[in-house]
């Protein structure tokens, strides 16, 4: 068990280091960073000053190890635009993105799991077909478009919910629903296929023969076993949702990490972009590691 954990952990650290390098190289893609920062109207003198101030005149590898050395200590430098520590900027916005991600995940689980179980119990019936239709619709729905439609209907026409901003819990309802839509299809399908497999097994027949209640059979005996793959996909989905928050936070002007990233990208504020890519990647790596460990705890067969 311990060896499995260690091995998984070492791989995660190596992946994190690779992503770190990638995030650094990504912002050097433009050729000359100083020209991008200075903007189109800058003179040669401005560009030279910027190069000097940000240390962009040093060799690339010196810049890299300098950045790496600070980044592993949680210091991502200073934002060009906000004139503030990048770590502080991100720290302030992480709670908003996390709230959005968890709201979306909660909605997706509340909708997706029962739908999946229902479809599995009534396999092949119209209920099953209706559930796959829901999954199909969720899969094809462009998230930003759904966001705008919800804004028009619930924000403008009905006036039930605020259209944009971050003030209260009501601001998270529409973005949460939109985010949930991206996770519902895979959660539903996974729960359905897992449940169908489990319901066909011998111990379910035994449970039935013992005369247990339908609820007890489905939830205690059935779902607990079907849940194993769902647990890991849930953690991974949360990671994807945090990554996908860029689009939704921009639509709803929700000032989380995604919105910060979009703002910084349009303002050529590369220390921030670098750091956000890195933080989102690290969150994802952490979540998948957690998922693997949870899986190993839940299902001893996987500990290899």
């Amino acid at each position: 068990m311990l060896r499995f954990f260690l091995r998984r952990f070492v791989v995660a650290v190596l992946v994190a280091l690779t992503v770190l390098t990638f995030a650094f190289l990504l912002t050097r893609l433009s050729g000359d960073l100083a020209i991008s920062i200075a903007g189109p109207n800058a003179s040669q003198a401005d560009i030279d000053t910027i190069r000097q101030v940000y240390g962009l005149n040093r060799p690339l590898w010196v810049q890299f190890f300098d950045w790496l050395g600070r980044a592993v200590q949680g210091d991502f430098g200073e934002s060009y635009f906000f004139r503030d520590r990048v770590s502080k900027l991100i720290g302030e916005r992480i709670p908003i993105t996390m709230s959005l991600g968890l709201t979306g995940l909660a909605i997706a689980l509340v909708v997706g799991l029962p739908l999946g179980i229902l479809a599995a119990v009534r396999e092949g019936s119209w209920v099953d077909r209706a559930v796959s239709l829901v999954a199909l619709i969720g899969q094809a729905m462009p998230s930003f478009w759904l966001g705008l439609i919800l804004m028009i209907v619930f924000g403008l026409k009905l006036g039930w919910l605020p259209i944009s901003g971050t003030g209260s819990w009501e601001h998270y309802v529409m973005p949460g629903v939109v985010l949930a839509f991206s996770a519902i299809p895979s959660l539903t399908r996974l729960t359905r296929s897992g449940m169908i497999e489990v319901l066909a097994s011998d111990y379910i027949r035994t449970a039935r023969a013992k005369g247990l209640t339908r609820f007890s059979i489905l939830v205690k005996h059935g779902f607990r076993n079907a849940a194993i793959p769902v647990v890991s996909i849930t953690a991974v989905q949360l990671g994807f949702m945090l990554g996908g928050s860029v689009v939704i936070e921009t639509v709803f002007a929700l000032h989380g990490v995604g919105f910060l990233a979009w703002e910084s990208i349009s303002k050529n504020d590369f220390p921030v972009v670098q750091a956000v890519v890195l933080v989102l990647a690290l969150l994802y790596i952490g979540l998948t590691l957690l998922a693997d460990l949870l899986n190993a705890v839940l299902d001893p067969r996987l500990r290899t």
């Binding site: 912002t27 478009w145 403008l156 895979s186 990554g243 990233a261 890519v277 990647a281 998948t288």
Partner: protein, 289 residues
């Protein structure tokens, strides 16, 4: 987990009787035809600006004219022509991205699954790393740094979306590697290239086709999202995502300008997914897990 490498008997016959497959084929086929012939069938020039005829509603609404079936946009360009032209952009993005990412992913995955050992470790590492990189964010950053263009969007998406191809190619190849007919080919003394191209690839092709539909749908949605954020396909090209973005300013006055391109996007992606689902049913396996 079933091995599921073989196509179930009678699969093709079932495919043709499957309404989901027929609907999917109709939508995707229709869009493909429109994408090819659009320059001959569009009623107006989708780039022609006419500031005297701005924001005309669709023909069936009050104030609409039969001249512009879906009305005109904020610059007086014919919305229906732009919508039709957008089909070409979405199909182009979908197909070319899948070709690029497919080439990368299948090569990487087959190599890992076929050779195993250290090579497979490296492949798994590459897949894990790729998955932990937030795709939308990276695509946005690259577009901001290198300037937006259609080619760039295709290239970036192609370089980012190869992971599922690699995962599926790897696992299916692994299952095949130990089967008797592959062993038989080895015994006949053929080269590794022969085994890969004649024994392995044809037998994992259906699985890869399913992945191709999933990735095509994803690529089309991602391009729309990037263009919506202003860092995808550049104006004045009528990408559906860009059309929604341009209409956003007027969304509370002219909601149809948002609804129309979004609905087109939804229908096309739905069609691609229906095709994929039908293919998956035909194989009798579930790749979504």
């Amino acid at each position: 987990m079933t091995s599921g490498v073989t196509v179930r008997a009678g699969g093709r016959a079932r495919l043709l009787g499957n309404w989901a497959f027929l609907l999917g084929a109709f939508i995707v086929g229709g869009c493909a035809v429109i994408a090819v012939v659009v320059t001959w069938i569009m009623p107006h020039d989708p780039f022609l600006i006419d500031l005297n005829r701005r924001l005309i509603p669709p023909s069936w609404m009050e104030g609409g004219t039969p001249l512009n079936f879906l009305g005109t946009d904020q610059l007086g360009r014919d919305y229906f022509s732009r919508l039709l032209y957008g089909t070409r952009i979405s199909m182009l993005i979908g197909v070319l991205t899948v070709i690029t990412s497919g080439l990368i992913g299948i090569t990487v995955g087959v190599l890992g699954g076929f050779y195993g050992g250290k090579i497979d470790d490296a492949v798994m590492f590459a897949i894990t790393t790729r998955l932990s990189i937030p795709a939308v964010l990276v695509a946005l950053a690259v577009a901001a740094l290198r300037g937006t263009s259609l080619t760039l969007v295709i290239l970036v998406l192609g370089l980012l979306l190869w992971d599922r191809f690699a995962v599926v190619a790897r696992s299916t190849t692994m299952q095949l590697r130990n089967l008797d007919y592959v062993a038989a080919a080895w015994c006949a003394g053929v080269s590794p290239w022969w085994v890969l191209s004649r024994e392995v690839l044809p037998n994992i092709a259906t699985h890869l086709a399913v992945v191709a539909t999933l990735e095509m749908a994803l690529a089309i949605l991602l391009e729309a999202a990037l263009s919506f954020l202003g860092l995808g396909v550049p104006a004045p090209l009528p990408s559906w995502g860009l059309m929604i973005s341009e209409a956003k300013e007027y969304m509370f006055f002219t909601p149809w300008m948002i609804i129309v391109p979004g609905a087109a996007l939804f229908v096309l992606v739905m069609g691609v997914n229906l095709l994929g689902d039908a293919l998956r049913d035909m194989m009798g396996t579930d790749l979504s897990r």
